[in-house]
Subunit: 288 residues, 2 copies
């Protein structure tokens, strides 16, 4: 695999005794070159035989692989805990699809972690496959990562992605201000129609609230933090109340802890404030 | 004062129980509008009667008021310690001086914290006066800040600025990878010649190493962290050895603690790793 994907190191920077690496590679599922960052903690240098747990962080609309790892202040605690962090990009880039860069909530920076089925997007926009299969395989083949000890968290569109992925591939998950019910909110419906077509029955498998309302599989633990002064929340794009109600239907299978944080907004100022709570939440499972 | 400077709130975000505010104002000393961020910890909201200590962070070349407060991860510990943080911009902006945006190391983003004397720059580039006098007065007049409990730290060009200011206005100071001897390094000499003219005797008052070598005033405590793999260091732009030698001449008046950090570079990945050491260093004095 490593030859065809042409995994190339772009940059590396020592940080909290470990290293933040930026790589670029060709993605067979997305048919374009992609970038990601990986933080390896001090106990797992590149040539380590010790394998460490890993957290994948999925970012929100307009973000790329850099926003979270630059702004969230996660590395101090990850370094102490001996947990790696992978921050993928949020969509394919430079695919040549007409208008891919024109709308902030569709196309570049807005992959919504789905496998597109519409003619316009399906050749490249296979983000579900990239995040769930291709990238973890690449990571575990090339870095000292314990494949059995991984989980996912995310912010906003990436919070949607994280919860949706964890309900389809049961595991623990956490999210900051997730888009909980994309089938029912403005940014979600416009993106899903674009990527998945107008038939809403094809949206259900990508919708955290729809998945949660019928969930009857392995037990899933979910932590959500949501700021009360979040403009995206007030616009009706997050709908955490829909998700809480859906989980009520599945409470034998899902444990949900939701913290409403008074006065916080949708930004990384909010994410950085509560990032350690999320790392601790995952660490309990990843290190058990 | 507040009317003529037209202090305007641009943005505010709750963070670690306190708030990060971004303001814009007219600067009489720089004759242009300037921006800064101020983090007020939870124990000192805007209308607080309790006044808290403050740290000023001076950023490096090409930076603005956002780089450090976004990337350094300082707010967690500042919040716990009850210390405010001010991050000013690194130069005047949009002054109309020909070529002000053309060279990364001179003009916009590169004020070097000096009061320029050359005809081209002197009308606007009065950063020493802005940082030492105008801005602290504005801060103490408008925010719940204890004027007697303030100190300065900085990175690269801002490390130069911080140490230079602390040697001229004795106090405690710390720096990440400071430009220690601007009169003798490529980026420093080109900037000083531009702002202060070719006569090197006019540069001495703005040069940390020159100031330290003759220092005989109130005791100054200095903490420096320097990465060993810093490209700026290897290019001869930082010259910490010159500074250490100069302090040897003044060791009755200056206490210098220098940490060489193996494998770290010049970036904010380095700064964030050691930011808490610097906050603790200042807190000992600010809260005594």
């Amino acid at each position: 695999m490593s030859e065809s994907i042409d995994l190339s190191l772009i940059q590396s920077n020592k940080c909290f005794g470990g290293t933040v690496y930026k790589y670029e590679h060709y993605s067979p599922s997305l048919k374009c070159r992609m970038r990601f960052n990986i933080f390896l903690p001090p106990n797992a240098p590149l040539d380590s035989t010790t394998k460490v747990p890993v957290l994948y962080f999925l970012s929100g609309l307009t973000c790329n692989e850099d926003n979270m790892i630059t702004k969230a202040g996660a590395q101090r605690l990850l370094s102490e805990q001996g947990i790696a962090l992978v921050t993928p990009d949020t969509s394919p880039r430079n695919t040549g699809i007409p208008g891919e860069d024109d709308i902030w909530s569709i196309g570049s920076g807005a992959g919504f972690y789905v496998d597109a089925t519409t003619d316009k997007w399906k050749e490249h926009y296979q983000m579900y496959t990239y995040i769930v299969s291709e990238l973890p395989e690449l990571i575990c083949s090339n870095f000292p990562i314990n494949k059995e000890k991984s989980s996912v968290f995310g912010h906003s569109m990436g919070g949607h992605g994280a919860i949706m992925i964890a309900l389809r591939n049961p595991g623990i998950v956490s999210a900051f201000a997730p888009i909980c019910h994309p089938s029912e909110c403005p940014v979600g419906t416009s993106a899903f129609e674009e990527y998945l077509g107008p038939n809403k029955s094809n949206w259900l498998d990508y919708d955290p609230t729809e998945l949660a309302s019928n969930y009857q599989s392995e037990h899933v633990n979910i932590l959500i933090d949501q700021g009360s002064d979040d403009a995206f929340l007030k616009e009706g794009n997050l709908l955490p109340d829909h998700f809480v109600a859906a989980v009520e239907n599945s409470k034998n299978y899902i444990t949900l802890e939701t913290h409403i944080q008074p006065g916080y907004d949708h930004s990384y100022w909010f994410v950085q404030t509560f990032i350690n709570d999320h790392i601790d939440f995952h660490a309990k499972f990843l290190k058990s």
